[in-house]
Amino acid sequence: MKIFVTVKQVPDTSGTVAVNPDGTLDRASMQTIINPDDMNAVEAALTLKDELGCKVVAFTMGPPPAEGMLRELMAMGVDEGVLITAREFGGSDTYATSQIIAAAIDTYGVEPEDIILAGRQAIDGDTAQVGPQIAEKLHLPQVTYAGEIKKDGNTLTVKRILEDGYMTVKVQTPCMITCIKELNQPRYMNIGGIFDCYQKEVITMTYETLKDHPLIDKSTIGLLGSPTNILTSFTPPQKGAGMMLEGDGKETTDKLAGILAAKHII
């Protein structure tokens, strides 16, 4: 039994975000982090590993420095990393990305007892599409928004969180589960893990590795293979300055209430 986890290195959108004059993101000036929801997927995998002793393999697609992120995951307890990297894969939208990651996972080999875990969505695009689309490309059942996962033999019981409650779903392995932050609290790297992680293996899969896979075709990967195109990107205008009211006493709040009343807001 193996657990695959898909992870993405993303710009930290909670920090300072720089935008180029042409409206695109200045990625070079931003800190990168491991996508937060993906950390919940990693933790879910490691929790299962603690219990069952199975192997955990992390997959990421990105530029070569993304290997650093795989090392950090290994310092948490992940056994192996797969770095999917090639110029041909650049510019992929969610459809093309899932196609490539699905091909990589398939090349590694999915067995009947295996589980694929993904974060619900990445904070750069917030699409939540890649997990389900990988599942579709691999013809595997999926359960998204997992807030609890229990394993009994080859059956997983997943608490799928909805806006107004939850549903409990049973699914057989192999399957795809996407994880949300309510699922768990990701662990830290540990010191022993840190001193071991550079001894573990990172497999690099390039275009050459994957090009003969049925899912990989120049017309379905990369910028040219992506069904969607970006027409334009832009920053929203800053709203004009409001009115700062002087003081924090009753006269100030009276003044505010007066304005709201005059505008028929209250």
Partner: protein, 380 residues
Amino acid sequence: MDFRLTKEQLLVRKMVREFAENEVKPIAAEIDEEERFPMETVEKMAKLGMMGIYFPKEYGGAGGDVLSYAITVEELAKVCGTTAVIVSAHTSLCCAPIFENGTEEQKRKYLPDLLSGRKIGAFGLTEPNAGTDASGQQTTAVLVGDHYVLNGSKCFITNGSVADTFVVFAMTDAKLGNRGISAFIVEKGFPGFSQGKHEKKMGIRGSSTCDLIFEDCIVPKENLLGKEGAGFKIAMATLDGGRIGIAAQALGIGEGAIDEAIKYTKERVQFKKRISSFQNTQFQLADMHTRMQAAQFLVYNAALKKQAHERCSMEAAMAKLFAAEAASDVTRRAVQLFGGYGYTREYPVERMMRDAKITEIYEGTSEVQRMVIAANLGVK
């Protein structure tokens, strides 16, 4: 000297920083206020390998290096001086002397529990009448059959009331002076051993500091650490390592105060300007950072020497002397930059200032460090 950190050391810093931010900082003010030992934090650190960083995995350690240990203490101290000294005293003053002087049986018996953090360690050298003059030991150990009988008391013992395992020094032959001192591994449950009252302190108030009392305390003969009479040497070598930990603690406290001061001065507005825009603020912070950066070089240098098993008495003394005095100065200046708010407990800088002071005192006062440095220079 090359201060570029290895990939592993960079990850250690990243991991401990996250841990400190999320797990340590939120309770730092509370444990100070309540003088409460943060056992929950120790349990978390234990799971992450932080209680046995630079010891081999075969004894339950994390397999790391001394610089990673210094970085860990530094990062913890940035947000909480108490938590930093718990790790430092446990590691440098208990795990290290057992690892460096213990027999294979002693190492197998004591290290796995200590290095995995299941048990906490402490060090008993200081006595009411043997502080800076450690050679004035009044605790005695007499060999009776297959055990030693210890009598006397120790004071100001860090981790004292929470520790399970102690490295304790006692006079086995008073006639021989320093050469009559021996080291013992004492367990909490040994007959005749008790822990005394909790000291109320100015700073590092969450750490446990208490007396150790030996009343006909029975210590098995096999718990003699090193040879009889080797105690003073063991104590001094242990303190060399311990000083690196305390220097790292001082370094972190100072850096933490600078972080807080930068944040605050960029927010605080006076005379319709952020106070960070005043040149006094800028110059103060520039000086503060420069001092702590210099301290960091000294601390890391001492850690690298120890890692390389080179003699590091003078390097450790210089690191501790400089880092401790810099931390006291920097935290005091940070309080000044905060003004009245800095004097209140709403902000952490007053706590940092209180915490910094102890680093000039324990594990050898600044005066002792100067003695060590001067002696190493051959100045008599």
